[in-house]
Symmetry: C7
Subunit: 282 residues, 7 copies
């Protein structure tokens, strides 16, 4: 009760309204509260985001830390801005105008900068979910290449042809990462209908056996069998599981060996074949 | 009536307005109410969502439980936020400013983070409706593979070629699940117009009979009949229903058998045929 | 007039304002009104929706009934929520804050969950308009198959190849139902330009006559006539109307018969024909 | 002036404010006004929409009448809803809450049910503008067939293949109606470069003359002339204008006659022609 | 000053507030003002739109006049609606409710009927800018034909094949008008590499000279020269500028003449040519 | 201080409120201020837009001037409209209603006429940035032709085939202007693998030397070298830089010369070549 | 306390309200504050944007400086506008009207000019992130060429064919920059199945060795191996890393050398090969 009487004596005027001194006191209180609230929010943010286990790479941690700093600052500025508005209002300045205009302005900006916000949110999730990191071979939309830079707003990937693709994160939806786990090398060989199928498969199995030693192959080449009865031959398929990025070299070597072995064994890889029938008329 | 007189004595000042003590009392009441309401809402959420029978897998149950916890916390924080606003207002702080700015800010955020919200809502329904679970072979848009991770925001599926596709749930509309029930193995064979059709169908029926023993086949291969009078032969179709993921092996084996049997029976699988007519002129 | 004096005595204080007792009385009145209004609305909903004649299947009726219950509950909760707000306001609590935040929150949610609402509205109309029901063979977008489940949010259709397509109702626009009424079996046969067209049509008519007995055919096969003067022959078309889902079998049988009969009658189904002209030069 | 004094005496209390009786009187006045306004609006609607001359079919008239009834009822309910709000406000109930929530709710609903509203508006215009009616052969997007049902929300068209396409009106933009006025039968015939063009055109003209008798043909077949100097012959085109839906039969008959006549006159319809030049090397 | 004392005496009550009589007077003033404003606005609209020189056809003038009348009426009703609201407000009725609900309703309607508004705005500009008129041969999107009706909401064009395309104006963006100015007839002729190019061009020039007399040709056919060194001959191109809609007939006649003249001059229009080289092996 | 006492005497009534005369004076002041502000804004607009150096053509200057006049008028009307609202408010008329309705109306209109506004803004930038002007040969989307009219809302371009494309400016994004700087003439010639490549390049260089004299060629034709090892020959490419719109004629002449020279030098431009290998079987 | 008494004496009237003089004093204070705030904001902007290290080119620095000036001015004008509104309000002018209308107007404009804002934001990021600069060879969407101008709203790129593409920055998403780092020259050569593969690879390696001297090649040509077992030959691939823009010339030279060397070594680059099988019948 004493507290109240103190308030009444010092901070209220004769009509019971809060006087200038009282308003100053309240202002002070508001600014202190805002300061404390800011500290509390910072703590919460740190705990929620930084302790996630998925963030393993140092690079990602650094980027996210930068991002969090930006978010913290934005919140701090916003809260002090509110404090100022409330204090101004306390001293009788008309703040409605300010608020309305700022609100509409903010809306307009949001509307215009929508894709920017989207870029950053998507970028944040790519980092936190570790969808890909620098050095991975990825496909994003119709572009593929090695990730050179993974920014908050854009991702840069470099094509095998040397071209540098710069992609805003917001336009990334489906990502295909080709360096997470073993990749498949796949060879399709056509042989003529006239060949003995069992002989062909024997020869292919022999080649497969050779390649099983190769330590870039995780799961040795297997002859799958007849995958198509095509218009100019029978298609036989061989697959192997290799270390990432090694599949193309393995495929090239396998193709060369098959060509050589087929030549030796006299198995024909068929050109297009046409049966000609002599017609009458004229 | 006594209750009212108590209120009048302690909580109102001489002008009949609620005094500082009264305001404190009301504040207390508000916070207690909010606490109770929070508890009630939690109960309702638990009952509505967790008792659904479609949620069978343990993994899904865990994920949904995590999600519900997040929703509950959000509601709790929001309600206490309202309580604070009402109390501040009670003590005469201008809260309109705060509300307006927060409102517009919230709108702006919603606008920007729209796809994030969509990701999570779709992810929630994929889980609850059990559209697919880890290990299923699915097709989503143009990507297909085995589901490796089914998160609240993203789904990861791994291609047969080893590529890892990371798809935000919000961009998933039509899902094709290929491991729910038996799959179809289908072989189309072309034979020349010169062949005796009944003989061809007899041979195919004999092969089908052989395969009926195979326990990976649910519904034995059936010869459907003539499915096309094509430009270089008659197309005959054979179908079988197999265990999921076994259809490709069955198809490969069927193709090999047909090739061998046709060779034995002297049935021609035709190359492209052209009738040549000698023209005059020049 | 007596009524008014009663009100004045009990429910108004000395200044003519409504006193605490009066406010309690009004609150009671509001809650009773809301209760009555709820009942009336329920009646109206039942009458408008459930009496429609298009809802024939039991399954649809059950689903719609579930849906209506949800709608009724939502309305009831909303009305009581209004009542609480009005009563709180009556007792002097600042409710503007609550309303604004809830409004913006609701808007944000609507924005995010837009596709969910769309799914359910479309699902509701598919049921009420009986666009398809479980067991129908339908095509939705690029997927076709037999409807396995027709839910409020999703439709499941199973392909002939055994794949299960899960389609959110909201992404369904055009539906093609292939089991409402007879389907067409259609065969196009090419014959060489050298054949006697009248003879060909006679033979086809004879085959058509045979098939007219088949009780899976609603409207006997008819020879339409010459539908194309193509680059390697004259295309003649035969059509029949069959029971739904039987068109493919009929087509296969017709094709087999035509092939056999043409062989007997020595009518050539042409391979691609090329006129070769010997050029000079070199 | 007397009128005013009456008002002052009966409907105002001592402070010059409107008393309870006055409020009742005003309420009555409001309800009566709303009733009259409703009647006037109904009249206006009837006059504006129903008197249009384009609405010729009975079916359309019925559907539109049903629709108008719905609109009228909606307006009536809305107006009485306003009346109730104003009266409640008059008696001092806080209605702002109600309005705000209803407003946001309405907005949310509009947002979700947007496509429903669009379906109905488009359906309305299809009826009023008589774009097509039941029995017409139309093409809508990629689907074509005979209109089976023209509803306010959906249109059902049946394909020649027996498939029933169900299309929401809102997704209809361009409509192609193929039963409004005569249709064109068009035949393109290729003849070899070696033929005498004048002779070919004479023969075609003779056939055209024959068909001019046919009463399903509105504008007799005309030989247009050389429409392409193609890679394997000269293309000559014949067109006729026929009764709707008869164009295909006319085309089939014309094709048969041309084939027969060309055979008689020894005009060659060319197969693909290739000039072979013997090369050297190897 | 006298004017003010009159106002004070008659239109104000003892407390200086405007009395009932004063309110009536103000109401009258408002309605008169609205009437005058309406007239002024009508004048402005007439002057701005109707005096444009681009509106030449009578038909367009009529349609625009109808449209303007609708706009004028809409403005008149809106202004009187405002007047009524202001007057109601003057007499103390709470109009905020009405305004809010109408506002939201209007928004909802706009949202739903968006495409309707767009149809009419686009239709208006097509008329005013005279993009096409009835009888023109136009291409809109993928449809082309002769304009049969140019409405405010839809455009009807009739295809050469007799099909009637009904296109909502709002879905029209790019319009191609083919009857504004002369059209091009273009013939591409292939001749063998063995021909003497100068001789070919001489012959074509001679044919061009013949056609220069034709009064349907604005700018005589010109031989452009060698436009492609193709895989089976040299392509030479001839162009002419003709009256609109006559280009096809001119092209057909030119093609016929070229064929006849080339035959006379023994210039070969080549079939596809292939050099055959005898390979070894097998 | 004197100024204040004058104000108090004349413009305030006994209660210190502003009297009728004061209100009239304020109104006058407002209108004068608005007039001055209008003048100032006009000046600013003129200076900012008209002094840009990019606006070179007279035609563009005229169009922009017209546009600026429209903008100025709009601003003037808006400002006077504000003045009237403020004055009405000053005299106690309720203007909130008016504002709200106008606001919503304006929003609705914006929403509907969105594409109109977009057309004009884009049109403005095309003019100011001088993207193209009348007479330029441009490609916009899939249409190309010579610009006939560059309006504020639409652009008209005329195709070489005489067709007039009318494109709303708002649907223009990427513009390709083909008359800004020299254009490239490019000829690709195929020669058989049997030819001596150095000889071919010598001959082409000789032809290029001839054409270097031509004053329509900016940068003489250069033989680039072997651009493809194709399936039926080696592709050699020649490029030249020509005056705009002259590239096609240059290309045609180059092609004719190459053909003649190759004939003289006995270099073969190859037809499609096929190696035929005699197979066994049957 | 003295300060307060001064305020009370000079700036308040008898009723304790702020008098005219006080209002003038407050106005002055507001304008001074706004001036100071402007200066502070300018400092912050300069520090945040201009000190970034990525902005290396002078040209970009200039453009960004211009842009920042515009932003600064906009902020200054906005702040003074707020100041004026607050002062007007202080003196009792109704400013709500002004604010509302300006707000809606601003919204409408934003809506219409959305793409303009997007153009400028994207343009800003292209500059700051140095995605490309004048002279770079880039691909944007389907257009590629050398950047001629990099404006805030549009980018101009010139095609090799001389065409000038004008692209609004807002429609740029993915950018491919082809002048950042070495580019790949890639040659695919087909050889017949009959060739000795080891010999072919030897010859290619010899050619590669020659080219390693070329200082436009960063990483010498390497023979990758067999990249396809095609239908008419074995495809062998050679790659090299070159200076940007030099890859095409390197490719042309490599192709010429390979052709010459193969001729010398008698390695056949195969035409299309077909195996012909003589059929019976007729």
């Amino acid at each position: 009760m004493f507290f109240i009487s103190v308030i009444n004596t010092f901070f209220k005027d004769d009509l019971g309204n809060i006087n200038f001194l009282g308003k100053l006191a309240i202002s002070l209180l508001i600014f202190i509260s805002v300061y404390i609230i800011t500290k509390v929010i910072n703590k919460i943010i740190d705990r929620t985001i930084l302790n996630r286990k998925t963030i393993t790479t140092n690079e990602a941690t650094n980027r996210i830390r930068t991002m969090i700093e930006t978010i913290k600052k934005t919140i701090k500025y916003l809260l002090f801005f509110f404090a100022i508005i409330i204090v101004l209002d306390l001293f009788g300045v008309n703040t409605a105008t300010l608020i309305t205009t700022l609100g509409i302005g903010g809306f307009a900006l949001t509307f215009g900068a929508q894709s920017l916000v989207k870029d950053m949110i998507t970028g944040f999730f790519i980092l936190v979910e570790n969808q890909y990191s620098v050095g991975d071979y990825v496909q994003i939309g119709s572009k593929e290449g090695i990730v050179e830079e993974l920014g908050i707003r854009i991702t840069k990937i470099r094509d095998f042809s040397g071209e540098l693709h710069i992609i805003p994160n917001g336009s990334i939806t489906e990502v295909t990462n080709k360096t997470r786990g073993g990749m498949r090398a796949l060879i399709k060989v056509s042989v003529a209908y006239e060949e003995d199928l069992d002989h062909v498969i024997d020869v292919l199995n022999r080649i497969a056996e050779e390649f099983k030693q190769n330590d870039k192959i995780i799961d040795g080449p297997n002859v799958l069998g007849v995958t198509q009865l095509g218009s100019s031959g029978i298609e036989v398929t061989i697959v192997a599981k290799t270390l990432p990025m090694e599949q193309w070299a393995i495929e090239r070597n396998l193709r060369k060996r098959i060509k050589e072995e087929f030549e030796k064994e006299d198995i024909e890889i068929p050109y297009q074949k046409i049966v000609i029938i002599g017609g009458e008329k004229s």
